[in-house]
Symmetry: C2
Subunit: 379 residues, 2 copies
């Protein structure tokens, strides 16, 4: 399904466009996973992801998508009956809670208003009321709302109460400044198909020493994604993986990290922030509103925009698709009311401009919002 | 690491060579997973795998490698304390047992001699002694030994005792005649990187109605790979997946199934059997022995060959590598004594001939075995 203009421009919050260099890495003849060549790629991914997470610890690959990475974190750190507090201001915030309950944990949900950032004081009060809570879960940038939660503040409160701090960084790491060690985060998860510009199929998990101590005590069953076994493999003199890994995705991520380093991580982060600001400026200029009306901190990687009164988000998505651009529909609470523009990974300002100009054109045609100007809408 | 002659010929029991058509499918511009285009691919994979498994039921994709697929089968069908019987005549046979114990099941191991096929009478006696056993696990073709266990016979005994029959078909399905429905198998697992000629990263599971009934009773924790959720998604009017799937591998497998159908499934099976016979004939002609000396039924997809006395398997593997051919080392019990030649998926008789001729050349140079003839060794 294309617009007759070639493949759709993926202005989606993942999978995102895979750049030619990364597609080419995935199209190389297959190699066996027990070779020096593949071992070097594993080593380069494990060490190369450190700066993106902001950690000096090795980052573990999990042979699953991001959702599997977060479930693996629960299965590796807890035992049935353990208590956690889950910051639920978005679909992926709430997913931590559902994972934990599936594994028999007791979950205290907070911040269930998807329109707001996490309130650190509310978390402080909850952890005071529930001193047995062993971990706080939070999403850094939740693609369902466009929030960028203040992970540093959440971590400060969590640590003060002796709780582990577990962060879904799936749509954040690589596109958003992330300081795992400095903020005192204990677990952070990301995935290959967002800011890492690769196909889906690999997750990555960073773990603190406190997280490893919890892992030692954990009694939940797991084998495929057991963190000890993964650590043993990837930190071996000849880095490898437990069993056969998604070889192609690993090679793609290795190439994507080289691209990020070629551009410069600071430059990449600044590019994401500039794109996000441009999208929000254009949104305001077009007379549209953000879906989550109470946000204080915005994701550099994705923006959830409310459809104007009387217009279905599907109408806007169809209009964009007819112009060769794919944006995502709403999720959960916001399913019927918004569309979501991803601006992460290989996406550039020229793509943002094209998207917001097309949006202006569609709104003009619908007699809604302000008319499209001749200038790019995003600038 | 190549031989200076381009990429190594992958005569390995997975990952196997990915043919150009399948590489190209994986190198297409990324598409979003919530599109009609991707939905059609999911539908074609789910229905297209039926004939390969020999089942009329939909085959479920699991977003993991084959090892994850087998662990998912345990997590989806049992509760802690359930008893199973595990046929352990190879590394992957034993893996079922280890998965089950990690999830708190009680495992009765049998057939731990890697040199032999499963003895159906031994299974019958074990199931008579342990009437509470709820399932029998077995590997169809175990790449560690080159056996092709008689799954039909195992299934007959298992069913007679009211036990589920769970088969690791990872290196079998697509390359070996497999008759899930006819044999009365309850669970069979395969993976993308073997006979399906694609990158690793996707597993596939077929399930009988009895397996679904066990799933309903199961209390083990799982969410990422919960079979109910996967079935709901892939059998929807517009087939999809729970969460983001490994999009690229799914497209590769769809293309690989089209290739198998172009060749004809019976022709593909016959090609595998012919290659296996050619490898065994050449092995005998070179004065070499199979590693598993007591086998009655041989895998069409892989052959484990004992290194000759006084020669390390590594010497042979290095010699083949210098000639541009990669074969695998031994595993587990047979780690130090054999090398393993894969002949599955996109591998053709010309590749088998090249491999066995190179092997003859190496043995001649070592003054071991019989000298290489001018004719291809495999014919």
């Amino acid at each position: 399904v294309t617009s007759g203009q070639g493949p759709l421009l993926l202005m989606t919050p993942g999978p995102t466009r895979v750049p030619d260099r990364v597609l080419a890495a995935g199209a190389l003849p297959m190699i066996h996973h027990r070779t020096d060549e593949f071992s070097r790629e594993v080593g380069s991914v494990v060490s190369g992801l450190g700066p993106l997470f902001g950690t000096a610890s090795p980052v573990l690959p999990v042979h699953a998508t991001g959702r599997g990475g977060t479930e693996a974190a629960i299965a590796n750190l807890f035992s049935a009956g353990d208590e956690i507090a889950a910051c639920c201001n978005g679909k992926f915030g709430a997913m931590w809670a559902a994972h934990a309950e599936a594994y028999g944990l007791t979950v205290h949900r907070m911040a269930t208003d998807w329109s707001q950032d996490i309130d650190a004081d509310e978390l402080d009060r909850l952890l005071t009321r529930h001193p047995a809570v062993r971990a706080v879960t939070v999403t850094c940038t939740d693609t369902s709302t466009g929030v960028c939660n203040d992970v540093a503040a959440v971590a400060r409160i969590g640590r003060a109460h002796g709780a582990l701090v577990m962060v879904d960084g799936v749509s954040a790491v690589g596109g958003t400044p992330f300081a795992f060690d400095e903020w005192g985060v204990d677990v952070a998860v990301t995935a290959s198909q967002k800011c890492l510009m690769s196909a889906p199929g690999l997750a990555f998990v960073a773990l603190s020493e406190r997280a490893w101590a919890a892992h030692e005590r954990s009694r939940l069953p797991r084998r495929y994604w057991d963190f000890s076994e993964i650590r043993r493999s990837v930190t071996a003199a000849r880095p490898n993986t437990p069993g056969t890994p998604p070889v192609t995705v690993m090679r793609q991520v290795a190439e994507a990290i080289r691209m990020i380093n070629d551009e410069g991580l600071d430059v990449v982060w600044a590019r994401h922030e500039a794109m996000a600001q441009a999208v929000r400026r254009a949104t305001a200029r077009l007379g549209l509103s953000l879906q989550a009306t109470g946000l204080r901190r915005f994701a550099p990687t994705v923006t959830a925009i409310a459809a104007p009164p009387g217009i279905s988000p599907e109408t806007i998505r169809d209009g964009l698709k007819a112009r060769g651009i794919l944006v995502a529909g709403g999720l959960g609470t916001f399913e019927a009311t918004c569309f979501r523009v991803g601006h992460m990974g290989d996406i550039r300002m020229v793509d943002v401009d094209a998207t917001m100009t097309a949006l202006a054109d569609i709104l003009g045609g619908l007699g809604t919002g302000r008319p499209a100007s001749a200038e790019p809408a995003a600038r």
